[in-house]
Amino acid sequence: MREKNLDRILDQAIDEIAQDRMAPAAEKTAVDQVWARLSQELVEDGPANQKILGHEDFEALIPAFVKGELSGAKAMLLQDHVGECVPCRRALKNARTGGGRKPVVAARAPRSAAAVWGWRVAAAAIVVVALIGLDIKTDLFTIQAEGLIQIERVQGKVFQVTDQGTEPIREGDELSFDQVQALRTGKDSNVMFRMSDDSFVEVDERTELTIYNKKKFWQRGRGDGLINLRRGSIIVEASPQGSGHLFVETADAEITVTGTVFAVNSGVKGSRVSVIEGSVEVDHGRKRDSLRPGEQTTTTRLLGHTTIEDEISWSRNKLRHLSLLAEATRVAREIELALDWPGLRYETTLLDLAPADTVVYIAIPNISEQIGEGYEMLQSKISENELLSNWWTDEMSGTEAETSIATFMEDLRAYGAAIGDEVVLALPQRNGEVSDPVIMAELRDPKGFSAMVQADMEEHGAKIMLIEGDTLVTQASSGYEMVLWVRGDILVAANDVERLAEIAVGLDAGRSAFHGSTFHSKLEQLYSDGAGWIIAADLSTLIPDDQQELETLGLAGLQHIIAERKVKGEQTENRLVVTFDQPREGLASWLAEPAPMGALDFVSGNASFAAAFLMRDPSLVVEELFAMAGSSAGSFGSGIEEFKAETGIDLQDDFLAALGGEFAIAFDGPIVPVPSWKLILEVYDSARLQATFEQMVDLINEQAAEAGIKGLEMREHGGRRNTFYEITSLDVGLSVHYTYVDGYMVAGSSIGLINRALANRRNGITLVNSGRFQRALPADAQVHFSAVVYQDLGSVLGPLARTLGAMTQNFSQDQQAILGQFAENVDPSVTVAYGELDRIVFVNTQQGGILSSTLGSFLRFNSLVGMQELLTHAAGELGG
């Protein structure tokens, strides 16, 4: 019976392999690329008489092969031939030993394929790089909200409420809220309108709102608009607000935005705010929530959370939002790959000029040119793409925002071209507080830069003092918002001349007193290793000495924290380094030094999530944990003694001492109907640990009997190689299965899962061997790590959503198609940690970059939301 079953499954798997087909798109790509390569080969090698036809031809190639001068194809053929031809093998060996080492081919400079930072950070850099344009250009996005709205679409009954009563609203109407008290929608009705700042609002049925006029905006600050939502639901696509904000006010919340898409639902039980794109601040009660795409908040506990897809299900534009974002994500990825991002910087003159008391140091590469190019490419892509082109025409064409963005990009490129490779912000500490930054940059074109600043000052009347020349004129800078000093090819900007005078000392001497400090040395090291983006803080100065909490946690020795982001080949690497002024202790010492992790061998390459770490010593960690929780080490010891006296179990010897230092958890297999979880522990003494478990089960059962419940059942299944254990809660019905293998305890949701883990380990089908994991690993000198977190949600959840989508009847093909893009937009990622003697290093790599990540995060979230919906449908249908 078993043999027949195996035959059936083998035949089925063989049949599936026989039917495996490449996706048409992948097939086309492969064929095109290979043919291009073959064509190149034909052209390069030309005449047919250069064919390699026999042994002599191959032998003649050997000298060139040894010198590394043979083309890839010929080298491949020669290697093939050498494998089967003894004389050639001998000739090759002789050629190699006879001299002439294969020259080392200079590594091609890595071309940045991944992008750097998120749009938002890039935008911050733009502002800095475009120099102080912060103050010069504040009028760029100023809105002209007049409390007017243009009705664009009406369905059903929509009314304006005035002193005279209610009147119906029609498409094309223009309402001024000077006269109109409120806008109200009836049952099964909705309306779309555009505000004078170009923000677009979609209003659900039975909703009432009002919009304040400009005068009332001014009470909240310059250029602010305000929608007062009395009840009901709206979706707001806020346009860029320049220096101002758009507010949405409900009875119990105030939402602040600048250019984003979000939904607000307000009713008797409270308000619920959901963000679709951009970021939103929600003030309610004494609380302020900062929401990002996919996040949601409610103002009362009575009001639960829901999926964003449900929240906007009434919107006519729901699918448009999803499709548009999917397309935009794809385009953003294409642009990312096409842009040539700046390389790493190995030296800087700015570091030595930073103020002596610098405690925060931020270095941003000048990416203004790339952003400008990206914007041009975006325009080009939009014009080529029907969906995006329609969106741009509908939403942006002819608007003030379109003009403003174009002007902004022009200024950015102009200022960016005049500035050197990086802009540095140094924040000194004065009187115990971090003060305003000093901004420094090298200038490629000092005269051009000064001229641009002068022109902008005259045009916009910005309160900026511009000083040129070697001598700092120490005139009073009060009344100015910023002082710029162009000295030679160095630009320094600060709030006042006094701050610049301090920098002048360093400029005269060639370097400031900052040089030589520990913090400076750390930063210098970063540059020598190649710097990308740097954000670093001197914690030893920033944190006061008498921090008892940090003492308790063993973190008093915190010295520096340094965040870096840089492009390495095809990957973008994020690195966070926390350093200590002495060997790690307390909480920071729990993470062991990097070492091999056998526990990960029990996780297959199909895992959607896995986390593993090495702990220094479980006994010591638990002891310190108790101490941090307020107990002393002594009371920990007495607590263990009391427990032993009551139960007969010595936690220290029978449990903690039996454990090794490796721990891993993973979701490795189907997530429905029961999540396939796995827990792997390193075990030094499995017999003792098992005895402890059995004692604990007995103990729990005794207590269960006293409480009148069934308790636990432990079963043992003997096998050929391993003994499996199953602990089942007789009251709840849940089981945990586990076994001991080669010094590890492998636990999971089912015996089948554990069985497969063992087989996968034996067959080498493990996570650490998988291509996805390997490709996502950071490239550095470390062989092992102290901790690792891996996620590949896209490969499992996306297809699963599609699979379940096909099982349900209530999900449209469009929605399934959009969800299907989930897998394509989520790259697997690995974050590793290295616990070293006096520092902990966290490294994360990304295959994708920023342009797609912001939009992608929305898409990912919506896919998750969609998947939840699918699961709900599937569960309902399957259950029904």
Partner: protein, 193 residues
Amino acid sequence: MQLAMQENAATETTASSLEDVFREHRQRVLHAAFRITGSNDDAQDVLQTVFLRLVRRGADAGLSDNPGSYLHRAAINAALDIVRSRQAAKATPLEPLEPVLASAPEKTPDRVQGSSEIRAVIREALGKMSPRAAEVFALRYFEGYGNNEIAKLLGTSRSTINVILHRTRNKLRDEIAPYADYDSNPKRFGDES
């Protein structure tokens, strides 16, 4: 001048001849490679390797009377080479998971998961077998050749092919046993236990 023209003509002839062969057989090569490696990238590598070898040896070299069979075998062997080198490098691709999950919605997720692992095990196991056994197995079960055809292609007897296939199947059955037991009954124990 005349020599240059002759060289150009020779190049064009080679290109034209190669293009015909490539156009006719590229899909067969690509699909055979994909079935064995289960990876888009690896299948592309195989396609490139097979045809680059052809370019360097001349488009008509070694194709004999049956270029389809020659290229088919070349694809299978190049793909098996990749599977073997992957084992040496201890790296396995996960691409098989996605298309199967996407294309078999009638399956329950747990079955799909188990099935994808069994296919991965079969591919890995072929890489560990003798090159001849792996090639015979792939020709018979993945590419649909008859035992007589395989015997003729490899210059051996039909009975030898029968024996090779029988042994290979037995080995594969042993390899998939732990997964197969889980696939049929998650509560049962497999060979591991």
